[in-house]
């Protein structure tokens, strides 16, 4: 399946971003891990009726890379055997709750594209003692260049931009 834009996300903001692309006349595919919480049936129908494709309860299972370091296509768990291609890929998979970032005892990583991740090296400092203070882990995220393109190995991936809370904060 071919699209102009594939958004890997899953919350209402991502759906809204998708609709924006659609308004610009683009064909959009939104891959959401769960059932798109907070997006009403009416909004879904609007999205679909304007040519948007919603892949709910699905997730990216593999990424194929082109020789020039751009993303060539994606595979998802549900649509086995069907490559998904796009001009532009939007990484909007959120931080930890939605699995955009993963963490083990002393490391944080972005599981789909292996993007560069900014995080505190000393795990004892990931949290503040006080629950109600801003938590350092809430600043962790993928690194991007000034155009919002995701960095991988220090270099921007030309057709992959980051969107939303997965972007590292200062």
């Amino acid at each position: 399946m071919k699209f102009d834009v594939i958004i890997i996300g899953g919350d209402p903001k991502d759906a809204a971003a998708g609709l924006q692309y659609i308004k610009e006349g683009k064909s959009v595919c939104l891959i959401a891990k769960g059932g798109l919480i907070g997006v009403s049936p009416a909004e879904r129908i609007e999205f679909a009726s304007k040519g948007g494709t919603l892949l709910c309860s699905d997730e990216v299972s593999a990424v194929e890379w082109a020789q020039d370091g751009t993303v060539a296509s994606l595979r998802t768990a549900n649509l086995v055997g069907t490559p998904l291609e796009a001009e532009l890929y939007v990484l909007a998979s959120g931080r930890f709750v939605s699995g955009g970032l993963k963490a083990d005892m002393d490391r944080v990583w972005e599981p789909l594209f292996g993007a560069d991740v900014q995080f505190e090296q000393d795990p004892e400092k990931w949290c503040d003692d006080d629950f109600f203070k801003p938590q350092p882990f809430e600043k962790f995220g993928v690194k991007t260049d000034s155009d919002g393109r995701v960095l991988k190995g220090g270099k921007p991936v030309a057709n992959l931009i980051a969107y939303g809370s997965i972007i590292a904060k200062q």
């Binding site: 769960g34 059932g35 919480i37 879904r44 129908i45 892949l55 998802t76 055997g81």
Partner: protein, 409 residues
């Protein structure tokens, strides 16, 4: 360590967000049902401590898998419920549940007597006996039994199928075999147009979905093993025309029955998925009749949405130039296989489906299209709109000769 969290059915991934409960069609209409989070991961922690915590209200789960579709954490909520029902549940009405569950057994008994069985099953007096004695809702009409089984028809045509250079296996399922051979015939016709001859499996048993739903896990496992063995032996993919058969063999065999189907899983495909991929890869081409016209609405069955495969059916249908297609919002029809046939569930079943029925009325289509046979019964009963499988529609819409020519090599 702790990079991956491995717990049965991802029990421990639950963040307790309650989205599953929010989307559960049964929870919305039945206060006696504790909802998927409670019945699933919450209850499971306690059942692991002591099976005494099994709650009989788990019988209300429709197994529609909407909870799993909604879950942002990948918890197999409905699998947890289904596994526990098999382990600890007792049929509320053993004779009826056994009868409803044994789709192929009852089918094979009824088919030869179809001219008798159909009127008898439709008689008011029979219905009230079924209602009173068997607990089958008198508001329900059993799907009619065909007097000639699909398999009987197919055997007469098997030799010509072997003539095709390319071959594909077909898992017809009980519904095609006993109630609706036309769907099987349409499948064969469509495959033949695409240049494929059809083969049946060495042995085919009912996929077992009704056995699982009614608590007959051992029998379901027995049948599943036979199917897996046959599918394993098949030298091509195995196509179905039922979303539920596909889903059961792909996901429930492992998730609920605990069988290893990793070798067979990706061989079991819904015909629309297989066909779409072949068309995209340029291996198959379809040509459509110029005069085909139809106004239809597509209903995504719950198990279809669990697999995410409505994409394929919708995209294929949209290839038909003369088809004006409305894609309906994804609402459960409420029948959930044999669930809706039980007397105590009839009202729930109707109430759950109401949104869908209203949507269909608003869209006012000539036909409804869906990949699930039990959705078809429910929709036809409550909306009176004739309902078909995408394969029926494709078989009607293609220009057979032209398609055959396009795929001749």
């Amino acid at each position: 360590m702790q990079e991956t969290n491995i717990s049965p059915a991802n029990l421990e991934m639950c963040l307790k967000c309650n989205i599953c409960t929010d989307v559960c069609p049964m929870y919305a209409v039945n206060p006696a049902y504790p909802g998927p989070k409670q019945a699933g991961p919450d209850g499971e922690r306690y059942r692991l401590k002591d099976p005494e915590f099994f709650d009989a209200a788990l019988k209300y789960c429709l197994n529609c898998k909407r909870c799993e579709v909604a879950c942002p954490s990948g918890v197999k909520v409905a699998d947890i419920i289904a596994v526990n029902r098999l382990k600890y549940g007792k049929p509320s009405h053993p004779l009826r549940d056994r009868m409803l569950a044994s789709t192929d057994f009852v089918g094979s008994m009824a088919s030869p007597f179809a001219p008798v069985a159909n009127p008898v099953l439709g008689l008011g007096v029979t219905k009230s006996v079924m209602d009173g004695v068997l607990g089958i809702s008198e508001h329900r009409t059993f799907p009619k039994y065909s007097s000639k089984k699909f398999v009987t028809w197919f055997k007469r045509h098997a030799a010509e199928q072997e003539q095709f250079p390319r071959q594909i296996h077909y898992f017809h399922g009980c519904y095609v075999n006993y109630n609706y051979p036309q769907l099987g015939k349409d499948f064969v016709r469509l495959m033949n147009a695409c240049g494929y001859g059809v083969k049946l499996l060495e042995k085919e048993k009912c996929c077992g979905v009704a056995l699982i739903a009614n608590g007959f896990g051992d029998q379901a496992t027995k049948q599943a093993k036979i199917n897996l063995e046959s599918i394993g032996k098949a030298d091509t993919e195995v196509l179905t025309t039922s979303s539920t058969c596909s889903f059961t063999m792909r996901d429930e065999y492992e998730g609920v029955l605990g069988l290893d189907n990793s070798k067979q899983r990706n061989k079991i495909l819904l015909t629309t998925k297989w066909l779409f991929d072949k068309i995209e890869a340029g291996e198959i081409k379809l040509a459509f009749k110029e005069d085909f016209k139809m106004k239809a609405a597509y209903h995504t069955a719950c198990h279809m949405s669990k697999m995410g495969w409505q994409q394929y059916s919708i995209r294929l249908l949209k290839m038909i130039p003369g088809l004006e297609l409305t894609v309906l919002g994804q609402h459960c029809c409420g029948i959930s296989g044999t669930f809706g046939f039980k007397k105590e569930n009839y009202e729930f079943s109707k109430e759950i489906g109401q949104t869908l029925f209203d949507d269909i009325k608003a869209a006012a289509p000539e036909t409804v299209i869906t990949d699930c046979e039990t959705c078809k019964w429910q929709i036809e009963q409550f909306t009176k709109v004739p309902t078909f499988n995408p394969i029926n529609i494709l078989a009607q819409a293609i220009d057979f000769e032209k398609t055959q020519t396009l795929n001749a090599n």
